[in-house]
Symmetry: C2
Subunit: 198 residues, 2 copies
């Protein structure tokens, strides 16, 4: 139905391709954009095009960045022998926010998911193995605690262990502040299995 | 914190100005945009700028449209003596989707809201009164069923009634398919007061 003008319909259609933006949200955003200042809309549109055209993969860890090396890989104060493997740049950022991790990262850009046809060759795994040929001491696998993340963790672990490099996995358990009654059985079981002496 | 590259940070900041888009959603959208095809990003950005620059208000009903007159106002088959007053273009579209209304509209672009300092002069009310000087027969007030919408409805009704033009309000009651147990008391009371003979 052509309920709005051509320009509004086109904008709604374009916004609807974004993840999590359904038709109703796209309408709301479209009307907000139409009422924004001309310069603000141009800034928003420009930021999209520029980010798309200028962002590239770090030559070392494959995170998304503007330069050949990301700020973490370019920092000599970081421990370049400790590599944390994550599924995407957002997960890397989540760990950077803790300010507690001093090693570097490797961003896979995905996880093994046979049901979607995503195999080991579809993620940046070959690049990880290549990096490990230089002097790596530990690979910390921090893929998600989902079926795909666990599958990927197991796969990587089996692949690397024969080389003698230490392979670890971030702990799973009850989140800090989590109330037991709302936590699923698998997490509770893991938390029990991984219990520590006090 | 400058966790991402400059371009990504700038895009996240720009996306966060949109309504209902918090920092987490902005991050998710930004990474989606960076991974989109170059041409798709340019189409999305172009649609924003073009819609902002080309959409104008209908000379007659003040809805957002591309031309001097919106398709409804330009249609001689519509009843131009019956004017439905709505708060915004989306509400007008909602009624157009019913395919049951044959009159025209008047879009206020807001509702009277004293707590936000929005008075009768801040919405397109003077323009409505001007339209009514020509031969209008009925004004159907279809502002929202919120405090602001009701206030606006009362205000318009008092303003127009002395002129002798018929002023009506869309009915409020239990929505079709609504289960009584989940409906608030005010709506239930209104539905009872407005009961009809079977």
């Amino acid at each position: 139905m052509d309920l709005y003008s051509g320009y509004i319909n086109r904008l709604i259609a374009e916004l609807s391709v974004l993840p999590g933006i359904g038709n109703k949200t796209a309408q709301r955003l479209a009307f907000h954009i139409i009422n924004m200042k001309k310069e603000s809309v141009e800034k928003l549109a420009g930021a999209m095009v520029e980010a798309r055209n200028n962002v590239k993969y770090c030559n070392e860890c494959f995170t998304l960045t503007d330069s050949d090396l990301c700020p973490v890989c370019a920092n000599p104060a970081r421990n370049h022998k400790q590599i944390m493997v994550v599924e995407n740049t957002r997960d890397m950022t989540a760990y950077e926010k803790t300010c507690k991790y001093e090693g570097v990262y490797h961003v896979l850009h995905g996880a093994i998911n046979p049901s979607l046809g995503i195999g080991p060759n579809d993620i940046r795994l070959a690049e990880l193995l290549k990096r490990l040929q230089h002097d790596a001491e530990e690979v910390i696998i921090a893929t998600n605690s989902s079926i795909e993340g666990e599958t990927t963790a197991m796969y990587i672990s089996k692949l690397i262990k024969p080389s003698g490099i230490r392979v670890t996995r971030i702990a799973s358990g009850v989140p800090v502040g989590g109330e037991l009654e709302y936590i699923d059985e698998v997490t509770l079981t893991r938390a029990l299995d991984a219990r520590v002496e006090l």
